[in-house]
């Protein structure tokens, strides 16, 4: 059976409704080097990178791969503004992004059109300058533009800005295409991708793990927990706790407009970001929507939508007269310190965590995948993830 046949079969299984994916056959026993839980961009990228290193991989996704936060996010491919501990993996991810069209078989609308962080005041601009200096050792090149330079370069911006910081190699992509395609790339590289199947239980078995998912038993040497906002369900089975919360970014999008935004935007500090997609629609975010504690529903929030409209008009006056045609949100795992956990569990040998990206996972995902694959394959990674390790949440 070729890989394509396997995929087609999996799809047919799903379609027939006879089983929730391949794993649902009670007789199925699967063994692999690594079990990846969660088919978002982080899990898919990890599975893909593991396969490139020759490890056998099963990826289990309870829904459809790449359909949660990985596909409903803003779609920014942004390095600048990342917290410094995130920058090494962000830089690594950016190198993969350049090559992603080849990996995914489509550019997925990735365009490095530049990203500008806007400063509302001189103090903001000074903070952007300080960040530029801090980020330089990581190889991130940022251009500080003062008010007049910003206006010359981006005449469509609002008038009262003190300046901005341009990262020319940042940009955006269509997350609804990138993330599902990553899962497909992992499958094509030989990972067994099982969709529509939840991991109900996972336990220690000898040196490795035994997971029960949709009636199947999956034995693995390593276990990677990248189940996004739902990752605690896996961590708790090993008695691990993390201060993981959830956020619900409120997104709005306009009808298609003539192309005019020549860069992606973010506001220094917080609260507003925007980009114009190739189709012409302007996507805007920056305020939080609503969700519930059981992580099974989320809704755009009217106050957030109106706030985003008001901010958008302020920073992008050309939106006056345009219409908002849709709003949405998604469920994102997030930590209080605004950074994910990436790395080995401090308690369970062979267990690795990569979750709680708080909205940064889309850009970071490909880099995290490679770093995780190195960690598992070699026990160490070339990428400095020391500031992201799960150990930072261990009780002192």
């Amino acid at each position: 059976m070729t890989q394509a046949d396997t995929m087609a079969r999996a799809v047919a299984d799903l379609a027939a409704g006879t089983a929730a994916g391949i794993a649902a056959r009670a007789s199925t026993r699967i063994a692999a080097d690594v079990l990846v839980v969660g088919g978002g961009i982080v899990g898919s990228a990890t599975a893909w990178a593991l396969r490139r290193r020759g490890l056998s991989v099963v990826l289990v996704e309870r829904g459809k791969a790449g359909m949660q936060a990985s596909s409903v996010n803003f779609g920014g491919v942004r390095q600048q503004g990342r917290k410094l501990p995130e920058l090494p993996v962000s830089r690594r991810a950016r190198r993969i992004w350049s090559d992603l069209a080849r990996v995914l078989g489509s550019d997925c609308e990735f365009a490095a059109i530049g990203h500008v962080r806007l400063a509302r005041s001189e103090a903001d601009l000074q903070a952007l300058q300080a960040y530029r200096d801090q980020a330089a050792p990581y190889g991130l090149e940022l251009d500080i533009l003062d008010g007049p330079a910003l206006r010359r370069r981006y005449p469509w911006l609002g008038r009262d800005l003190a300046g901005g910081s341009l990262c020319a190699e940042d940009g955006h992509a269509n997350p609804r295409l990138v993330s599902p395609r990553f899962a497909r790339a992992a499958a094509e590289a030989g990972a067994r991708v099982i969709e529509g199947t939840a991991v109900e239980r996972v336990e220690r078995a000898g040196d490795g793990f035994l997971a029960h998912a949709g009636g199947a038993a999956i034995a693995s040497r390593w276990l990677v927990n990248c189940a996004g906002a739902w990752s605690m369900a896996i961590a708790r089975q090993f008695g691990e706790t993390f201060p993981l919360g959830a956020i619900y970014p409120n997104m709005i999008v306009t009808e298609p407009l003539p192309a005019f935004m020549t860069c992606c935007l973010g506001l220094y500090g917080t609260g507003f970001y925007a980009r114009q997609v190739g189709r012409g629609s302007v996507v805007i975010g920056g305020v939080r929507a609503s969700g519930n504690d059981s992580l099974d529903s989320c809704r755009p929030n009217t106050a957030a939508t109106l706030k985003e409209m008001s901010d958008a008009l302020h920073f992008i006056p050309a939106l006056a007269g345009a219409n908002v045609i849709r709003s949405w949100t998604g469920i994102e795992g997030a930590f209080p310190d605004g950074m994910p956990v990436v790395g080995p569990s401090t308690r369970v040998p062979g267990l690795f965590h990569a979750f709680g990206f708080g909205g940064h996972g889309f850009q970071l995902g490909p880099g995290v995948g490679e770093a995780m694959a190195e960690l598992i394959d070699r026990g160490e990674t070339d990428t400095d993830i020391s500031g992201l390790l799960p150990a930072r949440f261990d009780a002192p």
């Binding site: 803003f74 942004r78 409120n250």
Partner: protein
Amino acid sequence: MNPQAKETRVVIVGAGPAGVRAAQALVQAGLRPVVIDEGNAAGGQIYRQPPEARRRPARALYGFEWKKAQAVHQAWQALQGSVQAHTRTLAWNCYRGVLDLHHPEQGYGRQPYDRLILATGAMDRVIPLPGWDQAGVYTLGAAQISLKAQACLLGTRPVFLGTGPLLYLVAYQYAKAGARVAAVLDAAPRQAKLAALPDMAARPAMAAKGAYYLAWLAAHRVPVIHGARPLAIEDDGASKVVHWRDGGGARRATGGDVACLGYGLRAETQLADLAGCEFDYSPRERQWLVRRDAAGRTSRPEVYVAGDGAEPLGADAAELAGEAAARAVLQDIGVGGQQPRLDAIEAATARMRRFRRGLETAFAWPAELAAQCADDTLVCRCERVTAGEIRQAVREFGLRDVNQVKSWTRCGMGRCQSRVCGLAAAEVVAAAAGEPSTEGVGRLRAQPPVKPVPFDAEAWSRMAASNGEGAARQAGGTAGGEGR
């Protein structure tokens, strides 16, 4: 009446036949409902009232139905002072007991409710064909609204295509108003209409009207073709040429100055969806309808549906359904409602449903036209997605849920939010995925706003000011980062 019940905030969305009768029944029971409607005046689409300057006698505007139209308008007039009416107001979202509103001059607003009656009506079902997205191609509903509201013919030599009772009614109305109708191209074959006769006998007067339109068109030498399979609409510079295949399989072409198409009705259900109502698939309509009891109670205890937005049964049924929903509200808040009257409405509605079954037999939604449309046919006009792209998403990526297809292809993501293309797109997905009906490919979830709403610089600060800390806490206090 207990004073608490009287304070119940009942909000009705839609002031067509269903909404007006719902308001009337509530006012009769001593309540003061809020009525929200997008139009300038009550009447809905079917009994739409022209602006003052375009007023014409009811008989000229509404034909056989003029007395019913007048009765609905008069009922509405009599309610003035007893209802809180917001016309020209779009209800664009509905969540946790609050409707979000927009008015072209007053801007954004919010309307809380204890009970909500959704009488949101229906719109044309569309099947895409090459050329349907060009200027000069309209829906049947649009053609009729232009005539009713503006006394304006979209064209003087229109070609009407599609199927359904509206096809004949609009052709008749256009011809009576002076248009030279080039042709009526009905996709449904003649036999289907004969097969429908037993059910249509449930409402002899309605069936007779249909027969009258047909006879009138024949007497006025308007070409009416049954079983015409539309192929494409082409603009040859001078006219719109509709290419079609006749029952014998021969290619034909009919030229006119505009083409108007429609294939029956689809219920406008987005607000019910946003309110959290459950849906059931209707195999007969091949669309998802809000789950409800005979009186219009939905799965949400505070939400009721009535009229064509619940189930497209036509204006007479809508009047009854509006009244029934209001009576259900009254029962549920403990102020009567009169069960015998509800039973009578249910019995009358059953007859109308049987007639409707006849219409669905006579003018069945030709699902295969959508399912088999050529790969280069534009299915989603707003985002310019072709049938071929949808099929590729199904084939290559194993997508078989319309929401996934939307996410992947952008089909239904644009201005119309799939209101126009959604049903046809579902047929394309179902056929490509080997599903016998569109039930198997799921239901497109609604996302606010249900229709486009404009940017407004002041709305947020106004809302924050009027809501005090609530709104500020809701939004301003939770700024959300700089984007991924």
